[in-house]
Symmetry: C2
Subunit: 212 residues, 2 copies
C-alpha cells in the first residue's frame, strides 16, 4: 500500500469555503443532515460536483441519508486549517485599508486584524477601530509580537512589491494582495489577489454579450 497523497484539486479547495458557509447556515437553522442536492442549491453549484469535492476529504456521507452537517463543518474546517484563528496585518491604510480594518467580517470569521501599518508618517498618528497605525519600519516587531500569519496589501501598485518583500522577510507566509499588480514571491509563500476593477471589466465583457 502506497502512502496516501492528498492532491485535493485546486478547484475543490476554492469551493470548500462555499460549502462551509452554507453548512453553517444550515447548522444555525437547526438542520443536522443535508443531501448533496440541497447543499448544491445553497452553494450555487451542481450536485455531482458537491459529492466529488467532498469525496476528496473522505467518506463522510451516509448513503440514503446525506451528510451530517456538524461533522462536515468540522472536517472542512480542519481541511482549511480553521481550527485556530490566524492574525492579520493590514499594510496601507488608505481608503481601502481603512475600510477593511473597519469591516467586521474578518474578525467574525476567525481572522482577527491585529495591526495596521503604513509608510506615511502622517498616518501613523491615527487609530482605526482602536488600532494604532504603526510605521512599516516596525513590521518585523509587529509580526513577531502579534504572531501575524496573514498580510493584506492595500497600498498603491507601485509600493506593493516592496511591501510583499518586507512581509516575507518578517516571516509572513500568506498574502492577500489588493494592489493591481502581480507580485513575485518565494514559492513557500501563498499569494492570492483581489482586483476589484478586474471584476468590473470582466462583467463588462458578459454585459456586451447579453446585447446590452
Amino acid at each position: 500500500m502506497v502512502i496516501e497523497d492528498r492532491p485535493v484539486p485546486e478547484a475543490t479547495v476554492a469551493r470548500l469555503p462555499l460549502y462551509l458557509r452554507s453548512l453553517r447556515g444550515l447548522a444555525d437553522g437547526g438542520t443536522d443532515t443535508v443531501s448533496s442536492v440541497r447543499l448544491a442549491e445553497l452553494a450555487g453549484v451542481n450536485a455531482a460536483k458537491v459529492r466529488k469535492d467532498l469525496s476528496h476529504l473522505g467518506s463522510y456521507g451516509t448513503r440514503g441519508v446525506g451528510y451530517d452537517v456538524a461533522h462536515l463543518v468540522f472536517e472542512i474546517e480542519r481541511e482549511l486549517g480553521l481550527n485556530e484563528d490566524r492574525s492579520v496585518v493590514i499594510v496601507g491604510i488608505g481608503n481601502l485599508g481603512q475600510a477593511l480594518a473597519n469591516y467586521g467580517g474578518f474578525n467574525e470569521r476567525g481572522f482577527p486584524i491585529k495591526a495596521l501599518v503604513d509608510a506615511d508618517p502622517s498616518r501613523t498618528e491615527r487609530t482605526v477601530r482602536d488600532l494604532p497605525v504603526h510605521h512599516i519600519d516596525d513590521l518585523v516587531d509587529i509580526v513577531a509580537r502579534h504572531q501575524i500569519s496573514i498580510g493584506l496589501i492595500c497600498t498603491p501598485a507601485t509600493a506593493a512589491q516592496g511591501v510583499a518583500d518586507r512581509l516575507v522577510a518578517a516571516g509572513v507566509r500568506s498574502i492577500l494582495n489588493f494592489a493591481p499588480v502581480v507580485l513575485a514571491v518565494d514559492d513557500s509563500v501563498s499569494i492570492r489577489k483581489v482586483d476589484l476593477a478586474l471584476e468590473l471589466q470582466v462583467l463588462g465583457f458578459y454585459h456586451q454579450l447579453g446585447g446590452g
Copy 2:
C-alpha cells in the same frame, strides 16, 4: 465561409484585464512593442497562454517582432466593452460600501460611481465623497436618471437577494456581489462575486500545506 462565432473562453476573458493592465503600464513607460514572453512576465502567466489568449481576439501580433502595445490595448478594450464608461450604484453603505465609495480605483478605470443607496433611513442623511445616500425605494428613478449599468451589493447577506431582485427589476444587468451569499438571478443578468473571507480561508489551506 461560416459566420465567425467567438467563443472566447471564460478563462481567457478573466485574464484580459490582466494583460490590459500590463499593456497600459508599458504604454505609459513609452514601450510600443512587446513579446508574448515579456507580457507573460508582467501579467504573471506563461507565454504560451498569452499567445493563445490573444489569438482568440484575432491575429494582432507580428511574427519576429511581437505585439503593438497601443493596438493591443485598443483591441482588448473593445473586447471588454471599455470604450465607454459604465456607471455604478453601490447598495449598502456600511463600512464596505463607504470604503468602495471612497476608493478611487473605480472612477479612474472607467467605472464612475454615480449613486449610493441604503435601506436604513438614518444613513440617507449622510453624504460620502459628495454623493448623497438615497433610500433604496428610489432605486428605479436613480438607475434611470444616472443610466446605471452596474450594481455593487455591499449589504449583509440576509438583504442581498432582495437587493439583487430590485436591481434587476430596475434594469441593472451586471452585479458585483460582496455579500457572502449565492444570489439567484435571471440568466440575462451577469453576476460576479468577491468574497473576502473566502480568499483568506483558501490561503489557510495552502498555508497548512507549506508546513506552517
